[in-house]
């Protein structure tokens, strides 16, 4: 057991824009390169949203699309969710944000 004030290995993610309609933009500063495919794909698989990578920096699922762009010291992640109800889009966006901050990929990061 451990008790802390912060999650071990969490990534710094700022919510730049968030709309209930399913549009969101997040900004992740840092020099480290992450496997965003693996990190963001897993929650979509678990929620049964039939995700599949459709090119570098992009995943399409049954309720929309995620796109990310990496620069030298930052990554911008954008959500375009337009299927399902507003409630479901909010919940999926929240699950993806948790994955972006705390999720690990197959290599453990």
């Amino acid at each position: 057991m451990s008790v802390r004030l912060f999650h071990r290995g969490a990534r710094l993610i700022f919510v730049v824009r968030h709309r209930p309609s399913g549009r969101a933009r997040w900004w992740a500063p840092g020099f480290r390169r992450y496997d965003w495919d693996g990190i963001l794909l897993r929650p979509l698989v678990l929620l049964g949203l039939d995700p599949h990578p459709d090119g570098p920096g992009s995943i399409t699922c049954s309720i929309g699309r995620l796109v990310w762009t990496s620069g030298r010291c930052w990554t911008t992640i954008e959500l375009y969710l337009n299927g399902g109800s507003t409630t479901k889009r909010e919940l999926v966006a929240a699950a993806l944000l948790k994955a972006a901050r705390y999720g690990r990929n197959a290599s453990g990061r």
């Binding site: 057991m1 004030l5 929650p43 919940l91």
Partner: protein
């Protein structure tokens, strides 16, 4: 040990609701507020004795520890315990109704002394946990019904 109990009606077949809850413990991250990470699920197949590690942000304090499935009676009862970290027992009871699934969640939990100091009274903390249980079930309903 304090306890919270909440129920919700989900417009989905009981088998689907049970499968969503029990077949991949990692899914709980999507509907339980404050639960931010589940990993090291072993074995992969759901069953009594399945274990995993969790990280839970409980009103500003991050607890991490191990959980173990303690009861799996498909599709009626799913129960697990957090065996290290903040000790608690989570029991989901399901019943097929005329218009969907009647789902009840009971959480028995220990209240760490440092949390009581932070929130002044045990009653206040229990009320906050009750709110989280309501939110968890509403989130689950939202994910399953749409």
């Amino acid at each position: 040990m304090p306890s919270v109990r909440e129920s919700v009606r989900v417009s989905a077949p009981v088998d689907r609701v049970f499968s969503f809850l029990a077949d991949h413990p990692e899914r709980a991250v999507a509907f339980i507020p404050g639960l931010n990470r589940i990993e090291a699920v072993s074995p992969g197949e759901a069953g009594v004795g399945q274990t995993w590690q969790y990280e839970f942000n409980w009103f500003g304090v991050v607890f991490s520890g191990d959980s173990r499935c303690t009861k799996l009676d498909r599709p009626r009862t799913y129960q697990f315990q957090t065996v290290t970290g903040n000790p608690s027992t989570w029991t989901y009871s399901l019943a097929q109704g005329d218009t969907g699934t009647e789902l009840t969640l009971v959480v028995d939990f220990d209240v760490p002394a440092n949390m009581i100091a932070r929130f002044a009274t045990q009653g206040a903390l229990e009320k906050m946990n009750q709110g989280r249980a309501v939110e968890a079930l509403q989130n689950l309903k939202g994910l399953l019904e749409e």
